[in-house]
């Protein structure tokens, strides 16, 4: 089993004909992902990488039965692409694009809230279910290895680090999800933790947060209320300098949350062992899984 993505997932790539879209679609195909179509408005009817290109997601869904999309379009058009995927009834949209204006994402989130579509990202590496040979996004293929660990992380590159380090010690993943580093995200840590809780093959979850926002604190609340599986935590940015703040609004909204120490404290209070380094994560995973 896995979460969000499995071997049955039929994937359409929005922005497939661009250079990033092309490169990563090739990688996804190599990994085994069922990529069934690309969408590039104005290029419908053509072929790319041996796959049909459509002018809209709706047309791609009708023709191919796609249920998932990966978004590789430029920042100015990305929020619209996400909404297009949701309006076409996709189950899951994975947005890799970074540098999307935050208010565009606020609107896209509001658009999604009325619909059944899940969003991963934006500004994220996507997700990978190694046991199903399926990935959407840019996680390097060689990093995936099937196994019992669920990985959820805000940082793309740290996701790769963690997967690689776990893999080197023989611990593969059910699914690894990079939820993204932007202020306004689709799935949160809590959302992904709940999915892992319900996945019978996931025995343990590695959760790698970073400073800023309070999604880690919220996840800690969820875990504190009784989470059925062990969680190994990690927070990066402990030595980062505090950001310069203008005005009071930020302080009013976030209060004391957002710092590395606030996050570590919240997770530890919820019974999560928080590792200091990636090596530490692997040790904790090893301890848990060898014990059970």
């Amino acid at each position: 089993m896995s979460i969000l993505l499995d071997s049955q997932s039929r994937v359409v790539v929005q922005g497939m004909t661009g250079s990033e879209g092309t490169f990563h679609t090739q990688q996804m195909l190599e990994f085994g992902t069922q990529v069934v179509a690309g969408v590039s408005p104005g290029k419908g009817g053509s072929e790319h990488l041996g796959l049909p290109i459509f002018d809209s997601v709706a047309e791609a869904v009708i023709a191919t039965g796609a249920t998932v999309s990966g978004v590789f379009v430029p920042p100015a058009f990305a929020a619209d692409a996400i909404m297009e995927g949701a309006a076409a009834g996709l189950q899951l949209v994975v947005c890799i694009t970074e540098l999307i204006p935050v208010n565009d994402m606020v609107r896209a989130r509001a658009f999604l809230s009325d619909r059944g579509t899940r969003l991963v990202g934006p500004n994220c590496p996507g997700l990978m279910s190694p046991g199903h040979h399926s990935k959407v996004g840019i996680i390097p293929n060689q990093n995936g290895r099937p196994g019992p660990v669920g990985v959820v992380s805000r940082s793309g590159t740290l996701t790769y680090e963690i997967m690689q380090s776990l893999g080197a010690e023989g611990f593969g993943q059910t699914t690894a999800v990079g939820i993204g580093g932007d202020p306004v995200l689709g799935l949160s840590f809590s959302d992904v933790l709940e999915l892992f809780a319900a996945d019978p093959e996931t025995e343990l979850v590695v959760m790698a947060g970073e400073i800023g926002g309070s999604d880690e604190e919220r996840a800690a609340e969820l875990i504190g209320r009784g989470y059925p599986k062990p969680v190994v935590g990690f927070i990066s940015g402990r030595t980062a300098p505090p950001g310069k703040r203008m005005g009071h609004a930020g302080a009013i909204i976030s209060g004391n949350t957002g710092s590395a120490s606030s996050k570590v404290a919240a997770l530890e209070a919820a019974g999560v062992v928080v590792a200091d380094t990636i090596e530490g994560i692997v040790e904790q995973v090893s301890a848990h899984l060898r014990r059970s």
């Binding site: 935050v102 509001a110 793309g156 970073e210 300098p241 203008m246 609004a249």
Partner: protein, 394 residues
């Protein structure tokens, strides 16, 4: 893009939000003239930080002569590292009450939040901590914006914890605040701002509702939609940033995500999380990072070169740690940029590269051919750079 007070107020006025009459003065003479036009004025330094009053950057002048003297003093100040290129001279208000009104991004709710409190002014952060119920909040639907009835309820909620006598009746407050909040929210959306704040929102003894101060911060990711505004603000922005870290100013010019940290090990990586973790690793090994530099996803050789050049502009840098984990970024592109930069810039400080991920093999071969041995483990690479810098320093 942070707007200075007078820039923010120009936007407020355009949006139909009342501000005190004011003039920007870049010399004591201009301040003198402003005061003779406006009468008694408050003179405020124009730097992009909060707490200017506490730092002594806000003074009252009751005569043109006094305005000249006060402006001379303020223009010569340095406030938390910022020089003062200009002051804003504004008519003195007879303050009846000070409210707080702000629109900002609420990450948890994934929406803009409108915050209103009758406990405005300098102590609002304390109010937020001790009596958060005195700050009323509203999360409007981002497509519709705040409906009048929602703003009325926000006002009523804020009023419920107001203390002391009110200058305006409840009906007057409601009819003032409905259009004001609508305009501020719409301005925030139009400008792609992540912050539009009026603190204090002054109710004068005469019952006028006026923006006493103004803070606006525009989302960097949306600046491509606001080129004209950026140009308009250009001159002042350049002036205001004169107090900023010169390296950071240069990095902005080079469009690099760079934070100057003051140590001696330059750090370059791809992805904010990875770079933050690299800083942590350097610290754990006893080193001091000189900077944070994220080349982002999908960086090409040119960007890598640009980043290396940037890091080397810092004279304290004694060694460089490049940490690349390829996803959207490809190892071969990074390697090309590194080799090119090393050759052209004739880098003499130790350069430790750790590279893995997409096109790792291709990148590694390129680097090795050029005589740079890449590491695979990040902690090991961190240890190596810290040791090399320590040795070089001996």
């Amino acid at each position: 893009m942070k707007l200075l007070e007078h820039q923010a107020k120009a936007q407020f006025r355009r949006a139909g939000i009342e501000c005190p009459m004011g003039r920007v003065a870049r010399s004591p003479e201009e301040a003198e003239r402003a005061c003779s036009e406006l009468g008694p004025v408050v003179v405020k330094v124009q730097v992009p930080i909060g707490g200017r009053g506490k730092a002594g950057g806000v003074k009252v002048a009751r005569s043109p002569e006094e305005a000249r003297a006060v402006a001379r003093e303020l223009l010569a100040m340095e406030i938390r590292g910022y020089s003062v290129p200009a002051v804003l001279c504004e008519e003195l208000l007879e303050i009846g009450q000070e409210l707080y009104l702000g629109v900002t991004l609420d990450r948890d709710r994934r929406k803009l939040v409108v915050m209103l409190s009758f406990a405005g002014g300098m102590e609002i952060e304390e109010v937020a901590e001790r009596t958060p119920e005195r700050i009323a909040k509203l999360w409007p639907d981002p497509f519709s914006g705040p409906h009048p009835f929602e703003i009325r309820q926000l006002t009523l909620n804020a009023l419920a914890s107001a203390r002391g006598a009110q200058v305006l009746t409840r009906a007057q407050l409601l009819s003032h605040l409905v259009p004001l909040v609508q305009r501020l929210y719409q301005l925030c959306q139009e400008l792609d701002a992540t912050l539009c704040e009026i603190n204090p929102l002054v109710i004068t003894k005469q019952g006028l509702v006026v923006a006493g101060d103004g803070k606006v911060e525009i989302d960097q990711n949306a600046e491509f939609r606001h080129h004209e505004l950026a140009r308009e603000l250009g001159e002042d922005a350049a002036a205001a940033s004169s107090g900023e870290d010169e390296l950071e100013v240069e990095a902005r010019r080079r469009q690099l995500t760079y934070v100057h940290l003051g140590g001696d090990i330059g750090v370059i990586g791809n992805g904010a999380g990875l770079v933050m973790n690299t800083l942590d690793l350097v610290k754990q090994q006893g080193g001091e990072p000189a900077n944070f530099l994220d080349i982002g996803g999908g960086a090409k050789a040119e960007v890598v070169r640009n980043a290396l050049e940037m890091v080397l502009l810092d004279p304290r840098v004694k060694g460089i740690f490049v940490n690349i984990f390829g996803g959207i970024t490809r190892g071969d592109e990074v390697a090309k940029g590194l080799i090119e930069a090393r050759d052209q810039l004739q880098i003499t400080v130790p350069l430790v590269v750790r590279m893995t991920g997409t096109r790792e093999e291709e990148g590694r071969l390129l680097l090795e051919a050029a005589g740079i041995t890449p590491a695979v483990s990040a902690p090991a690479a961190a240890r190596r750079v810290v040791e090399m810098v320590a040795e070089a320093g001996r």
